[in-house]
Amino acid sequence: MNLPATEALAISARGIQKRFGAVVAAADIHLDIVHGQKVSLIGSNGAGKTTFVNMLTGFIQPDEGTILLHGENITGLAPRKVARLGVARSFQIPQLYKDLSVLDNMLVAVASQHNNLSFWRPAKNAAAIARAQQLLERFELSQHAQRLVGELPGGVRKLLDIAMALTRQPKVLLLDEPTSGVSGDEKFPMMETVMRALAQEAVTVLFVEHDMDIVERFADRVVAFYSGRIIADDKPAAALAAPDVRRYVTGTLR
């Protein structure tokens, strides 16, 4: 298989290792992700998916190995520095400001898109409000703009969390279990909304997911983890049919 040049790769993880005491969370992981791909990371609980995402965003540091973002080494950088270089993320439990309205949450995100925060420029200026409203519209959240986040249902919170992550126009977007806590009926419409909104951005998407129907429908590529190792890396149909994935991830092979 011919791999593209390092710069064309959105993410290039080389020899990543991470242990928590006796537990191996990442064992010599090599993973290249081409710009623009939608990659789903799957695996049972404790397989190492979220650890991998946390290492990509600088929340935890790998014991060994290198992570490149479009050819630039981001290993060991703090989350805010990784964010400034173009990696954004949403969270399994949405990280929002529950006492603020949906619009004000977006304004916080819009305010932070400038690296040099101003003592003078009002956070609620016309351009910021327009940008916030544009993103809310794209995520079909406009009707919730004035509601307090504390009053919102889980699916709407998830969408807001992702919309906030998108304000910096990141090169790579990591979605940690975007449909967890969302009812079965809402999962597909929600992911449709997310993917429609992301279609307007030149962004590479990695999403951690447990629902294999969602994975099959929305991913270009599936990377399966088991015990800190990658056990499959292929197109969705092929990856989900792999014996190791059926045995250790989906549980359809005993």
């Binding site: 990280q95 305010a111 009002p122 906030m164």
Partner: protein, 322 residues
């Protein structure tokens, strides 16, 4: 479009602020002297509490603002006594800068801590300063030392206008700082600092440094607290180590809690309320005025848990266009 909106927003704040200053300056001329003095101290102390409000907005509370209050006071009094600087405005700036410079080495260290650890570290710094001041014979030890009358624009006020001069200077400086603070509260940096109070993780993942936001607010709090100390010393004509004692810091925290973290004006209103309650309580219940003060705070916490500022901030938000 953005610049126009910004200009309108700032113009409104500046015009309202300057109008308020002019009104208070005019009222000061006809006010009784005791009220003049009371409001001078309230505004000077309000600056220190405004510093705590700044910190509260980024999720931390300092129990050691007595340190910057004392630093500002001692710096102004020493500049007056040893260097012959008598201009009130210059002495105020000296007080602010002295507190800022002294706080600079601690800012990034203390910004690593949260909750009770931040509070106790700030308290310990102020008590170290208190210990040094009490033992420093050259600074008057526990008795402190006196400071003479200030000048403004090269003129020394007569006895009759001395109190008003201090009042006018304190109101003008506090008013300008209040305007600047309001502009800052509404700015992108101000909003991010407020966001850090609720959710640090999100702020970091949006690309901003919470530690830097807190360290900046700590330094701004030091600067305004130092100016408050200088202004208080000019009004009192005396400085002593008690400025840095923990009970003094506690009073500033009391005012900040009374004010809440939503409004700049509330810090000054709460400071004035404290001075009024203290004056009348000590007049009518000389032995139990602290009890009256405590009951008053309990009532505020019970009925206005978000502070005095929530009275008009909530109303303003209800009336604001969406």
């Amino acid at each position: 479009m953005t610049h126009t909106t910004s200009s309108i927003s700032h113009t409104r704040i500046i015009v309202a602020g300057l109008g308020g200053i002019a009104l208070l300056l005019a009222a000061g001329i006809v006010m009784p002297k005791w009220l003049n003095f009371l409001l001078t101290l309230a505004a000077a102390n309000g600056l220190v509490s405004l510093g705590i409000v700044l910190l509260m907005r980024s999720g931390v509370v300092s129990f050691g603002q007595g340190m910057v209050f004392a630093l500002g006071g001692y710096a102004a009094a020493l500049a007056y006594g040893k260097l012959g600087v008598s201009d009130g405005l210059l002495l105020t700036l000296i007080g602010g800068l002295a507190a800022l410079l002294f706080s600079l080495p601690f800012a990034y260290l203390i910004a690593r801590y949260r909750g009770i650890f931040f509070a106790m570290l700030s308290l310990s710094l102020s008590m170290v300063l208190y210990g040094i001041l009490v033992k420093s014979e050259v600074l008057g030890g526990s008795d402190g030392f006196n400071m003479g009358r200030i000048t403004v624009a090269g003129m020394r006020p007569t006895d009759a206008w001395s109190g008003y001069t201090n009042y006018a200077l304190t109101i003008a400086v506090s008013g300008i700082i209040a305007i600047a603070a309001k502009v800052y509260f509404d700015s992108t940096r101000g909003l991010l600092a407020l966001a850090a109070r609720d959710n640090e993780i999100r702020v970091e993942y949006l690309g901003s440094s919470v530690r830097e936001l807190i360290a900046t607010n700590y330094l701004l709090a030091a600067f305004v607290g130092g100016m408050g100390g200088a202004l208080a010393v000019m009004a009192l004509g005396h400085i002593e180590p008690n400025f840095s004692y923990w009970t003094t810091s506690g009073e500033f925290v009391f005012v900040a809690i009374l004010a809440g973290h939503h409004s700049v004006l509330a810090a000054f209103v709460a400071s004035a309320v404290l001075e009024i309650v203290r004056s009348f309580s000590s007049l009518y219940f000389p032995n139990t005025w602290q009890l009256a003060l405590g009951l008053f705070l309990l009532a505020v916490i019970r009925f206005l848990p978000r502070g005095i500022g929530s009275l008009w901030e909530a109303r303003r938000k209800q009336g604001a266009p969406s």
